[in-house]
């Protein structure tokens, strides 16, 4: 019934935000679709109310008046009189994406909005694929911004790019340790560092925990970034800085989030799937993972603080950074 479908509509799920759509419009669209689905249910049977009516009793000598109780249909709770059953639904957004970026966007519905804060406090990393274009520099680091400079890029090779990326990762590694406020001389800190990455559990500037080049075909290049506490604008600035380090210029043509915490591209819902049933299914699938992840990050004991990094482990990075430097 209505309450059963409502109870299945509490939790977190991921949505694929297409480029060009503001996150707020997306949230409003999802809310409208959910309300449409909830209000489409069959209305309950019309209520009856009891009225006591005066009437003559049959079979009496005189005209005697008596009250008879009759059940009369009542229109007070008819949908055409009250309006739709649901007019508002609580939908919250996790880590936001700006209008030009695309990718996985975590939304929370109902009581799941509380879990959004917990996910934020878990300080999990996010994966991005960033596409850059060599040879141009613009004022807002995007392809369609005001052109500032044009340069040549013939001298850029894959090796140089990898070296630059390794240097970036190394410097951010130092910053990671610094912002996590750990005394590295202790045994627990050493064990943590051995098992996985140390990361800051409080506010900090953007920190890159891993960066590598996936594809290089000048003037285009594709870079995968694993980071935390970032904004998409800082990622575009990163592309600009990579260009500067390569002694040329670069603009960013695409920022796409492939993973946000435990939600990946596979579980993200496309625009055609933003309706009640698909969202309910997505919430059902995601609930056990979310519960497990939050338990892991919030449970006491330093040794359980591990970063989820499906896909590629950063052990493969260590040799290249060693060679590059």
């Amino acid at each position: 019934m209505r309450s059963a479908s409502l109870s299945r509509l509490q939790g977190l799920f991921a949505v694929y935000k297409p480029p060009g759509l503001k996150w707020k419009h997306l949230r409003d669209t999802v809310e409208l679709q959910l309300l449409k689905g909830l209000n489409a249910r069959k209305p309950p049977a019309p209520e009856q109310r009891v009225r006591f009516l005066l009437g003559a009793v049959e079979g009496s000598e005189e005209k005697e008046l008596t009250l008879t109780a009759t059940s009369v249909p009542s229109l007070t709770n008819h949908p055409l009189v009250c309006g739709p059953a649901f007019t508002h639904f609580k939908v919250g957004v996790g880590h936001r994406l700006d209008a030009q970026a695309s990718g996985v966007l975590v939304l929370g519905v109902g009581r799941g909005c509380r879990l959004l804060t917990d996910m934020y406090n878990a300080h999990l990393t996010k994966d991005y694929t960033v596409r850059g274009l060599l040879g141009k520099a613009t004022d807002d680091f995007c392809e369609d911004g005001r052109l500032v400079e044009k340069t040549t890029y013939d001298h850029v090779t894959r090796e140089k790019l990898d070296r630059i990326l390794a240097v970036i990762q190394g410097s951010h590694q130092k910053a990671l340790v610094m912002y996590s406020n750990l005394d590295l001389k202790t045994q627990e800190a050493y064990e943590m560092a051995v098992r996985g990455l140390i990361r800051p559990m409080t506010k900090s500037p953007m920190l890159i925990t891993g960066i590598r080049c996936l594809h290089f075909a000048p003037p285009e290049f594709l870079v995968e970034v694993q980071c935390m506490h970032e904004t998409q604008k800082e990622l575009r600035k990163l592309v600009h800085e990579i260009g500067l380090e390569l002694k040329t210029t670069a603009v960013c043509s695409q920022v796409r989030r492939t993973r946000d915490g435990i939600f990946t591209l596979d579980s993200a819902l496309l625009r055609t799937q933003w309706d009640l049933h698909s969202i309910q299914d997505a919430i059902q699938t995601a609930t056990p993972w979310v519960a497990a992840e939050l338990e892991k990050s919030l449970s006491p004991g330093l040794d359980t603080k591990q970063l989820p990094s499906p896909g590629w482990s950063w052990d493969s990075q260590v040799p290249s950074s060693g060679e590059g430097c």
């Binding site: 297409p18 009225r51 005066l54 008046l65 229109l75 007070t76 008819h78 055409l80 009250c82 796409r256």
Partner: protein, 417 residues
């Protein structure tokens, strides 16, 4: 208030005996509402229907011959004040009611003085009298919703059964007041029969009335003149029915206004009379909506997008909605289709549906076709894909026939954008 100003001198001019009656009536009114009513209305037959108590409630506020008409109109406006005015306190309302009674007819009260029973609520009364007491909770004198009144008003009940959405109408307080005060038999029935004559079906009446509740305050004769005018312009009966259904406010427009609008479209678009008629029948909200967006869009098509006049005429006869489309969306769509997809004007003119679709759909499908290498929009070359096939067919058919790929591939591609 003017009402109380009238009442007060009369109240003070009355004899002490009379003031005694009035106070007696006051307390009577408070303790035994149902009973004393029947006393006052000596001619009122004993009705055993549900509406008994409540029709009284309404008859006090309706124009009825036994009541002073000035009282009823002002009290009527008092009763159904919804969101606009603050809720009147109940005691104020009741004291107003009681103040009215004395001015009604002093003779009736002098008569009643003789057979006034003693007034204590503990007084034992006969079984018959006890049964006749109607102790239902009183109707709220003013409310923000029609839910409180729907069970007690036949008009509202019949409207709900017709399919009228009262929850939308109660958002307009004047409309709600009007509906409460109308009588189904006298006023509403005439208009419903007229609408049926025009050609609106029973199941469409609900949607029509939800939009155009103001039709009840229109003059029936005027509306008949307007329908006659449309018939004189060679609109068939089915045409007029369709127009009224799709643009519910059409019959609220005067004949000259309709004439001006039709003239404007004929002059502006320079179409023949027959084509203008077809256009207006397909999109009757052109006649009821504002003309400024239409003028602006015509300028946009001509100057900004660079279409020739006969091209604009062709596009509009195919897709009339283009006249009222959003200017920003039009320019964005045209910019993408003409500059990014490199489709020249003469092909866009052949497929104006592209202006009626969402831009993201066009973008996604075009990018998918480019990725597959099938983005070929030139009719001269092989593997040509026409614009209407690009935008107007659903996803599954598009993937299978045009892109020759599966829907899963399309979804995977969308996640890489």
């Amino acid at each position: 208030m003017a009402l109380s100003a009238q009442q007060i001198p009369r109240w003070f001019n009355s004899v002490k005996l009379r003031s005694l009656i009035n106070t007696v009536q006051l307390t009577k009114r408070f303790t035994r509402p149902g009973r004393t009513l029947l006393h006052g209305f000596s001619a009122q037959p004993q009705m055993s229907s549900d509406n008994c108590f409540l029709q009284w409630g309404f008859k006090t506020y309706k124009t009825s011959s036994s009541w002073n008409s000035s009282q009823t109109t002002s009290s009527g406006s008092q009763e159904n004040n919804s969101a606009q005015s603050t809720l009147l306190p109940l005691t104020n309302e009741q004291s107003e009611k009681t103040q009215k009674i004395p001015s009604f007819d002093s003779e009736v009260f002098l008569e009643e003085l003789d057979d006034l029973p003693p007034l204590s609520p503990m007084q034992p009364i006969s079984e018959e009298e006890a049964i006749q007491i109607i102790a239902a909770p009183p109707l709220p004198p003013s409310s923000f919703t029609l839910r409180d009144y729907v069970d007690h008003s036949e008009t509202l009940q019949k409207l709900v059964l017709l399919g009228v959405d009262l929850s939308k109408i109660e958002k307009h307080p004047d409309a709600a007041n009007l509906l409460l005060r109308l009588d189904f038999e006298k006023d509403i029935k005439q208009i419903l029969l007229f609408l049926k004559d025009v050609g609106i079906e029973d199941n469409q009446l609900g949607a029509f009335l939800t939009k155009n509740y103001a039709i009840f305050s229109q003059d029936l004769e005027n509306m008949k003149t307007r329908v006659a005018y449309l018939h004189s312009k060679n609109f068939s009966k089915a045409d007029v029915a369709q127009m009224v259904r799709k643009a519910p406010f059409l019959l609220n427009f005067s004949v000259e206004r309709l004439d001006n609008r039709l003239g404007f479209f004929q002059k502006e678009l320079q179409l023949s009379v027959k084509k203008t008629r077809e256009l207006v029948v397909r999109l009757p909200r052109l006649l009821t909506g504002s003309l400024e967006p239409v003028k602006e869009n015509m300028k946009v098509y001509h100057l900004e997008l660079g279409f020739k006049h006969n091209e604009i005429q062709h596009m509009i006869t195919k897709i009339p909605k283009m006249l009222t489309a959003n200017k920003r969306k039009l320019t964005e769509t045209f910019d993408y289709v003409h500059n990014v997809m490199s489709i020249p004007h003469h092909i866009i003119v052949k497929f104006p549906q592209v202006f009626n679709t969402r831009l993201f759909k066009v973008k996604e499908r075009h990018l998918f076709l480019t990725y597959l290498g099938r983005a070929q929009y030139d009719p001269a070359k092989p593997n040509y894909i026409s614009l209407d096939k690009l935008v107007s067919i659903p996803d599954e058919i598009f993937c299978e026939e045009i892109a020759k790929a599966s829907v899963q591939d399309f979804e995977k591609f969308l996640k890489t954008l």
